[in-house]
């Protein structure tokens, strides 16, 4: 549905007449305090239990074939998806409306918008890259252990912190994924209902023209778009699981390395006194070596001039 507004509908700033108390007191808003409707979001947790309807004039509907009060009041949990769907920011300002927002002007509250998949994918790729860097650094560490058990101990601690950081990143990714999953599932539910409706229409009254078929196809495109987003979400979750396995594998490798360090440390003679002016320490590389480049050994830096 789309509509084109006319110019006489602007009412910003207009003072509204106050609803007479005799009517305001009868509006059964308490009916929505039971947490079963979309109004729950604005209700405090301690909202009172639903009160009996007190407005016979509003609440009572003649028993005819048209409507029943519950029909209009019906606003069950399954409709919360509608509220969620309303946040999908895929609209464009209507150029015919003088008060439409300008292109580029933010419309939806940040954080309420279904986030684009791309930044998540990029973030995931960065995480994978970081893991690879950590793994490469770990490989270098194995060679370093034989030469300097004491320095490797420091490196393993660094790696330990890195794994913890990766765990944190992974947790954040998963939280983000959960939010997207909920939103997409709600949207998918709504679109599935629409699909069912379209199917019923097709069964009851097949399209008679190419234009009708085209219109139906356009209606189904929105369903397909949601399904695609849901599929992407699934892919992201699978990727997150893979990342988790990689972190676990790295943790195991780290434990093995730590055991080696301990063993070497027990067998090696006491280390010579370390010069105070210049110390040698080992760092994980901060970037992957370029193809064909010579392997990077331990980096040497000054203990007092740490600018490398």
């Amino acid at each position: 549905m789309s509509t084109i507004r006319t110019v006489d509908q602007h009412r910003d700033g207009e003072e509204l007449p106050i609803l007479p108390p005799s009517v305001a007191a009868l509006i059964p808003l308490d009916h929505y305090a039971d947490g079963t409707t979309s109004a729950r979001v604005t209700e405090p947790r301690s909202a009172p239990a639903p009160a009996p309807l007190r407005l016979p004039h509003i609440a009572t509907v003649p028993e005819d074939r048209f409507f029943h009060r519950d029909v209009l009041l019906a606003d069950g949990d399954d409709r919360t998806s509608l509220v969620r769907e309303a946040h999908v920011p895929d609209w464009e300002p209507d150029p015919r409306s003088a008060t439409s927002r300008q292109p580029g002007e933010p419309v939806f509250r940040p954080g309420r918008v279904i986030r684009s998949v791309t930044p998540v994918a990029v973030g995931t790729a960065v995480t994978v890259l970081t893991l690879a860097i950590a793994a490469a650094g770990l490989g270098l560490m194995v060679a370093d252990v034989a030469r300097s058990a004491a320095n490797t101990s420091q490196a393993t601690q660094d790696l330990d912190r890195r794994v913890v950081a990766l765990e944190q990143v992974l947790g954040d990714r998963r939280l983000q994924g959960d939010e997207q999953y909920d939103e997409l599932r709600a949207a998918l539910t709504a679109q599935a209902e629409r699909t069912t409706g379209i199917q019923e229409q097709l069964a009851a009254n097949p399209p008679a023209s190419e234009a009708e078929v085209t219109a139906l196809q356009q209606g189904l495109q929105s369903v397909e778009a949601v399904a695609n987003r849901a599929a992407t979400q699934s892919a992201l979750q699978a990727e997150a699981a893979t990342l988790r396995q990689e972190v676990n594998r790295l943790a195991v490798q780290l434990g093995t390395l730590q055991a080696t360090v301990n063993r070497l440390g027990a067998a090696a003679p006491p280390p010579a006194p370390t010069p105070t002016a210049v110390t040698t320490r080992v760092e994980a590389p901060t970037a992957l070596p370029s193809p064909g480049a010579a392997p990077r050994g331990p980096r040497v830096g000054s203990g007092t001039n740490d600018d490398d």
């Binding site: 549905m1 789309s2 509509t3 084109i4 507004r5 509908q9 009412r11 910003d12 509204l16 007449p17 609803l19 007479p20 005799s22 009517v23 305001a24 509006i27 808003l29 409707t37 979309s38 604005t42 909202a47 004039h57 509003i58 609440a59 409507f67 209009l72 009041l73 606003d75 409709r79 509608l82 509220v83 769907e85 309303a86 946040h87 999908v88 895929d90 464009e92 209507d94 015919r96 409306s97 008060t99 439409s100 419309v107 939806f108 509250r109 309420r112 709504a190 209902e193 629409r194 409706g197 379209i198 229409q201 399209p207 009708e212 219109a215 139906l216 356009q218 209606g219 929105s222 778009a225």
Partner: protein, 207 residues
């Protein structure tokens, strides 16, 4: 709930039976005739609730001039003037457009992300604007409104009796708004086809 409703966003909606029955009749008639969605306008007045928020009261609904398919419905600008003429012919004055309605035949009630939500936000400057979606075949009627600067929700809705409308000093329709004849619709969308502009309401009267 109402105390948390900011500004003049609707905390609930009241709807007269005549409006609801008109909507039901119009969308059923169009679907029986053409198998498409259909829409129109909601007319009424907006009140401020003493505890916060606004209360749009829908008194009447008028048939729209629409371009519709089985899964879409464009309510054209001519609907405003046609609706005003319809109410005038019924002797109803003093109402304003408070929202629109359209049907989702056998598709349940929701605002579609690709069409309905953008259409709603084209009226985003009107705090109390309502968008009603109906699917009488599933007994589903929903009214959507803003409850925040950029947030929509399905507003609590109740039927208002004639007595309530009188307390609010609102007109009580003596009969339902009629369907706009098909010939008039065709001429409104495609003026070259001609149509009966003199008496667009003589036919399809409900009562």
């Amino acid at each position: 709930m109402m105390t948390n409703m900011p500004g003049s966003y609707p905390c609930c909606v009241l709807m007269g039976e005549a409006a609801l029955k008109t909507i039901d009749h119009v969308v059923r008639a169009v679907y029986d005739e053409t198998g498409t969605e259909w829409g129109g306008l909601l007319w009424g007045r907006v009140f401020a609730h003493p505890q916060g928020g606004s209360v749009p009261v829908v008194v009447a609904a008028t048939d729209g001039i629409c371009e519709a398919t089985r899964v879409s419905c464009n309510i054209l600008p001519a609907s405003w003037e046609a609706g005003r003429e319809t109410l005038s012919a019924l002797g109803i004055t003093g109402l304003e457009v408070v929202g629109d309605f359209h049907s989702h035949p056998r598709m349940r009630v929701f605002l579609s992300a690709h069409a309905d939500v953008p259409a709603y936000w084209s009226f985003g400057h009107i705090p109390h604007w309502l968008s009603m979606v109906v699917d009488p075949w599933h007994g589903d009627y929903g009214i959507f409104a803003r409850r925040g600067e950029q947030e929509l929700y399905r507003a609590p809705s109740s039927l208002a009796s004639e007595e309530v409308l009188r307390i609010l000093d609102l007109p009580v329709p003596a009969r339902l708004s009629p369907r706009i004849p098909s010939a008039y619709l065709a001429s409104a969308i495609h003026p070259s086809r001609g149509g009966n502009h003199d008496d667009p309401y003589h036919a399809h009267s409900i009562r």
